[in-house]
Symmetry: C2
Subunit: 153 residues, 2 copies
């Protein structure tokens, strides 16, 4: 419950790794997979997905691989999770068609939707750069974030 998918997890790691190696024009899925011990084939598909959603740019063939499509500061954890795991909902009801049967009678879905938005806001406020940069703690960034993260239930 409320657990991040390993795929999303791997995706974040990979993007972080790419962000940390801006000098290299492209890193292959295998490179990244080996660096962390992630199953190569699995990571490949994750990166393909991130490519399709425009977060990465790919290049096939020898010395090919992936590179960030944007600055690491402009890619949020939310986007990554969204790209890999699909729409982000903490409840089952908002799950499009296959929703919860008792959506009409349910009285907590609106408050939970706000919680959902709050958590999404938290994830949106975190960039790949934030993950990559060990020395962050940046007070200004923290202050910026705070606005997004306010919750009113």
């Amino acid at each position: 419950m409320l657990k991040l998918t390993k795929k999303a997890d791997y995706g974040l790691m990979a993007l972080k790794y790419l962000a940390e190696h801006p000098e290299t024009p492209a890193l292959s899925a295998k490179d990244v997979a080996d660096a962390y011990g992630i199953p190569a084939q699995l990571l490949a598909k994750i990166l393909q997905r991130l490519t399709k959603t425009g977060l990465l740019r790919s290049h096939a063939g020898m010395n090919g691989g992936y590179a960030l499509a944007r600055d690491a500061r402009q890619i949020s954890a939310y986007e990554v999770i969204l790209a890999i795991d699909g729409p982000f909902f903490i409840t089952s009801c908002t799950r499009g068609a296959k929703s919860c049967e008792l959506t009409p009678s349910c009285t907590i879905k609106e408050p939970l939707a706000r919680v959902n938005d709050t958590i999404a806001g938290v994830l949106k406020s975190i960039s790949i750069h934030d993950l990559a940069d060990r020395e962050h703690g940046d007070a200004a960034a923290a202050r910026d974030r705070q606005g997004l993260v306010t919750l009113t239930v």
Copy 2:
């Protein structure tokens, strides 16, 4: 991914329902289940769990049922989720023994742990009373919450 368990969902609904009926000494699992269309047996076990963790008090026999063990304001959504679904972790690594194989090489677990704490903070800041009271929007409560919810990555 990052989806709330229906059991936790049901638990929150039930507690909210109990909070809305403070006059009655106890409501049976069936009462609550019927009110929302939740499978009665399932809800029963959820309530039993909440009782074991001390959030509810139960009374067997006729006219028995469950009642909040504390004031609705003193019960957080976090406690409910914790009681029903067990320890709250968004990553697989912190999952006690059965952790992720690549915990040592992973470089994003610390930042994700902070995200975890932030989300936990959000859930801790929400009480059953907040869910039950339609007219909340209470500016003071929102301000109180804001402190808990600050994120520094």
